[in-house]
């Protein structure tokens, strides 16, 4: 089922949680709502589920207005950050809940419920915990049970609110790969909220980047990472370095090198953003855009070498180079080197 959010606004007191937000989710997509806390992503999810009501705008489920539909009639599976499992019920009863509360004429028989619950437990690979209480499970297990419970009613949409937010780093990584595979098998329209860019980039088909109640950008992980439409998106999706470029005597200069280039347009100054891995490190200046820096810190642990460097004007840079490059250059702390942007991810001009 597709979901269409049209110009939704939601205000809590004096705080505008959502400001004229529109979004379309196609059937079968796995979408991440990504943003810092307070950006309105959870509010949007709750409005789609009917747990909050919007002050303005409408929600369309498969083209139909959902405004008159209560939460219980929306057929959405909702997975909460803190699981919200029924603590007084066993895992079995938790998963069976959605089937047991169905109106009598739709309610499956006890045997059917049993089969369905075991099928779901098998799906989340936790068949052996059926008779336990939620408090006897680990965080990752609870989250998978919460997912199984949400799936029991065969929802048309799956909404996940920071599903991995309260889990350990290891379990988190494992569970998000699992979610990706899981979605590939079931193809249920899914939206999940996260503030972890890595999670969003790894799992989602499409990422909706939110900030201060507004959508900044909607795109594939590749698009939002490599072609951000704003400095916010750029900053939020990974580290970035800022180059201040000035126009002096009609020439554009970056960093410390004298300007030789003619600026592309009539501008006074420019801010250029470059990702850490898109800087080359050399002993000699490569071009007029090279900036002379001193290496402040080198961390060779990991798949790439992370370097912190400081320019003469006090500007700090974060650089990532490969282990091979690091060895070839034979870098040490306090070395003087040149940084040259290979690719500028995003620029802002002041005219």
């Amino acid at each position: 089922m597709s979901i269409e959010v049209k110009q939704i606004t939601k205000i809590f007191g004096t705080f505008k949680a959502l400001d004229d937000v529109s979004l379309k989710v196609e059937t079968g997509e796995l979408i991440a709502l990504l943003g810092p806390s307070g950006s309105g992503k959870t509010t949007l999810l709750r409005i789609i589920a009917g747990l909050e009501t919007a002050d303005a705008g409408e929600i369309l489920f498969h083209g139909e207005d959902a405004k008159e539909k209560q939460t219980k009639d929306r057929s959405v599976g909702f997975v909460f950050q803190h699981y919200a499992l029924f603590r007084h019920m066993t895992v079995f009863e938790n998963i069976a809940f959605g089937l047991r509360v169905k109106p009598k004429s739709f309610r499956p028989s006890e045997q059917q419920i049993k089969e369905k619950v075991h099928e779901l437990l098998k799906l989340v690979q936790l068949e052996w915990v059926a008779s336990r209480y939620p408090s006897q499970l680990s965080g990752g297990q609870r989250q998978r049970i919460a997912l199984a419970r949400a799936l029991a009613i065969e929802p048309k949409v799956l909404l996940l609110d920071e599903p991995f937010g309260s889990l350990d780093a290891n379990v988190r990584k494992e569970l998000r790969q699992w979610l990706r595979r899981f979605h590939d098998n079931l193809h249920i329209t899914s939206l999940f909220v996260t503030h972890d860019q890595e999670e969003a980039l790894e799992v989602a088909d499409k990422i909706v980047v939110m900030n201060a109640g507004k959508i900044e950008q909607i795109g594939t992980p590749e698009e939002v990472y490599h072609k951000p439409v704003s400095a916010f998106v750029l900053n939020f999706l990974g580290n970035v370095n800022l180059f201040h470029a000035r126009v002096e005597e009609g020439k554009l200069s970056v960093g410390t090198a004298p300007g030789v280039q003619e600026p592309a347009a009539k501008i006074k100054s420019a801010k250029m953003y470059v990702r850490p891995h898109q800087l080359s490190v050399t002993r000699e200046p490569l071009s007029v855009n090279s900036v002379k820096v001193v290496l402040v810190f080198i961390n060779p642990a990991g798949s790439s070498v992370k370097i912190e460097a400081c320019a003469q004007d006090g500007n700090n840079f974060q650089v990532e180079i490969t282990q091979d490059e690091y060895k070839a250059l034979n870098l040490a702390k306090n070395d003087e080197v040149y940084l040259t942007p290979k690719k500028i991810t995003y620029s802002e001009y002041e005219i």
Binding site: D73, H82, F86, S135, S138, R149
Partner: protein
């Protein structure tokens, strides 16, 4: 292990002081009640209880509790549900209002009803015209008791419900449960021990209330006397054995209440540990299995 910083003699002195106070102010009076009641033998005790006025007082007390407790149970659940799970205008005011009967003298609580329904009261003339008797009759006693025991259930439930939040209810709704199903299957099981506890306290207070009931009752023997009022009358008539015999009934109610309360706490703790106690033991196994499965 607890950390002890006080000297041993300080500890012993404090424990002794607490025990002396307990003996002096609680155990001794309780003993006096039963001692005086049974002073002239068991036969006299039962004979003094076997009296139509005493029976009628017991009956009125029981009826009052049977009306007041269920009503306050419903009210208490509704109020604490509203206060704990929703945000609305005037919520703080409602919370304060619920506590009002506890902060007001019971005599005032009784007077309110006299002023409302008495012969000179606001509704008095109208009631008299229609031949409805409230003041100096059982209805006033029941009303005053409801007013006095108003906060008992709600005060027990509000903290419990607040601590539990509303996520489980929201989860139930997304799973298709109606409002009633959500309450019956999710909210109620989570609050049942707190609820039972509140009901027991409410009942004890309803049966034992003196001040407010005394103002509205009229003290008509065999008609508008509750057990506490009846005890006072007997005592004022120097009928000590009968007074203490009746008092022993109320004292026994208190003891039963205490036992029930401890049993509930014990059961609640047992249920919690059945659910949570084995976490430690399972955690290792669970972690191992999880790795195997995923």
């Amino acid at each position: 292990m607890s950390i002890r910083t006080e000297q041993p003699w300080v500890r012993r002195a404090l424990i002794a002081a607490a025990l002396v106070c307990l003996a002096l102010f609680i155990l001794l009076p309780l003993f006096v009640v039963f001692f005086n009641a049974l002073n002239k033998g068991v036969e006299v005790y039962f004979r003094s209880l076997n009296d139509p006025d005493t029976f009628s007082a017991i009956r009125l007390t029981v009826i009052t509790a049977l009306v007041a407790v269920p009503l306050n149970l419903i009210f208490g659940v509704a109020a604490s549900w509203a206060i704990a799970k929703f945000d609305f205008w005037g919520k703080n005011f409602l919370t304060t209002l619920i506590d009002l009967p506890l902060s007001v003298s019971p005599v005032i609580s009784g007077l309110i009803f006299v002023l409302l329904f008495g012969a000179q009261g606001a509704f008095g003339p109208w009631l008299m015209e229609h031949g409805i008797k409230i003041i100096f009759a059982p209805p006033a006693i029941i009303l005053a008791t409801i007013f006095i025991t108003f906060p008992m259930v709600a005060r027990e439930l509000i903290p419990v419900m607040k601590a539990q939040g509303s996520e489980e209810e929201e989860a139930a709704m997304t799973l298709g449960a109606s409002g009633f199903q959500t309450f019956w299957r999710v909210t109620l099981p989570n609050i049942k021990w707190g609820l039972l506890y509140g009901v027991i306290l409410c009942n004890a207070r309803a049966m034992g209330e003196f001040g407010a009931v005394s103002v509205v009752s009229g003290h008509i023997r065999g008609q508008t006397n509750t057990l506490p009022l009846h005890i006072e009358i007997l005592y004022n008539e120097y009928n000590f054995t009968a007074a203490f015999a009746a008092a022993s009934l109320l004292a026994m109610l208190a003891l039963v209440t205490l036992v029930l309360k401890s049993m509930i706490e014990f059961k609640y703790r047992a249920e919690l540990s059945a659910r949570d106690g084995s976490v430690g033991a399972f955690a290792g196994v669970a972690a191992g299995k999880m790795e195997n499965h995923s």
